[in-house]
């Protein structure tokens, strides 16, 4: 996947760090001190639908579909900039009975973005 730079317009991953102290959650979340939520933003014109990042073969398949469809009229539907790789977030926090809970929340951090 691609990380957004200043002025990026194509589909990319925008880093976004959530500091738990800044949102006043540092009293009940023991570890970590924050987390990189990140999100996907940018355009996905049809010629980059299935853009590689991690799906090169899918990209080829979509291009072939487009050729076939273009030959028979315009291909419907759009392609969106979506997470293509995510990883879990390990949290250590107090629940409302002041129990200490350690858990891994799946799919919490967006690692890469690509075009659907």
């Amino acid at each position: 996947g691609i990380d957004c730079q200043e002025g990026s317009r194509m589909c990319c991953r925008q880093e976004f760090f959530v500091d738990f102290r800044e949102i006043g959650w540092h009293d009940w979340i023991i570890q970590p001190e924050g987390y990189a939520m990140n999100f996907c933003i940018g355009q996905c014109p049809l010629h980059v639908a299935g853009m590689p990042g991690i799906a090169a073969s899918f990209h080829t398949a979509v291009l072939n579909l487009l050729k076939a469809n273009t030959a028979a009229g315009t291909a419907g539907g759009g392609s969106c900039c979506v997470p293509t790789a995510r990883r879990p977030l390990s949290l250590l926090y107090y629940d409302r009975d002041s129990n200490i809970v350690k858990t891994d929340i799946p799919d919490m951090v967006v690692e890469a973005c690509g075009c659907s």
């Binding site: 990026s8 317009r9 976004f16 959530v18 800044e22 949102i23 959650w25 009293d27 009940w28 023991i30 987390y35 939520m37 999100f39 933003i41 940018g42 355009q43 969106c80 900039c81 879990p88 949290l91 250590l92 926090y93 107090y94 629940d95 409302r96 009975d97 002041s98 129990n99 200490i100 809970v101 350690k102 858990t103 891994d104 929340i105 799946p106 799919d107 919490m108």
Partner: protein, 217 residues
């Protein structure tokens, strides 16, 4: 992009940066609370001392990495519950553990639970301890004995007692009471149990959300 511009992704009007940041922080909070199955952030009514926290964490066995259950709807977590010392006398110590959450008791499954307690013993002493597991009766009125364990303690320090299915079931229901009853001749005054940095606690490995999957199957 600056306020008043056009969003590169959807073509709609863009938010000015501060509102965008507010929106993203709101989404981040919502995302964490949803994944923890909490309707709102917990308000802490019984703060835990840093010393007790540090001691307990040294004992928390990490969830083996990569142990994420194959189904995202199931989540495994480790929980440490510090005891509220219930009514205790010189001859017995009662420990109450509470574990309520926004989730219904039905969809959490205790995989393993152990009582961890700290004892200061005079040297060359063996102390026999009976641990009684008390559970609420059918109409949630009085506590009844579910099972009990006999433990020989012959050294000062931390001790672990693996708790069986009765205690696990009580913990799954949100309330576990243990009674520590010393047996034998050792004078109780010479034995000290716990202390601020050595509060007894239950360490449990819990799977949440699994019941629905089993139920669905």
């Amino acid at each position: 992009p600056k306020a008043g511009g056009q969003c590169p992704a959807c073509g709609g009007p863009t938010l000015e940066l501060e509102s965008q940041r507010e929106l993203l922080l709101h989404l981040a909070k919502r995302s964490i609370l949803d994944k923890l199955h909490l309707s709102q952030r917990p308000t802490l009514n019984r703060p835990v001392s840093r010393a007790a926290l540090r001691t307990a964490l040294q004992r928390l066995h990490g969830v083996p990495q990569g142990a994420l259950p194959e189904d995202n709807r199931e989540q495994e977590c480790e929980i440490i519950s510090f005891a509220e010392t219930g009514l205790s006398t010189i001859n017995q110590t009662r420990l109450d553990f509470r574990f309520s959450s926004d989730r219904t008791a039905g969809d959490r499954e205790v995989q393993q639970a152990s009582l961890m307690f700290f004892v200061q013993l005079p040297s060359n002493t063996t102390w026999t301890l009976k641990v009684r597991v008390l559970v609420l009766g059918p109409h949630n009125t009085n506590l009844t004995l579910a099972t009990q364990y006999l433990l020989e303690v012959d050294a000062s320090g931390w001790h672990q007692l693996l708790l069986g299915p009765e205690a696990q079931a009580a913990y799954s229901q949100g309330h576990l009471t243990l009674e520590l009853v010393p047996e034998g001749q050792v004078a109780q005054s010479s034995v000290s149990l716990g202390g601020t940095a050595h509060r007894p606690f239950v360490a449990a490995r819990v799977r949440v959300g699994g019941k629905h999957r089993i139920h669905r199957r």
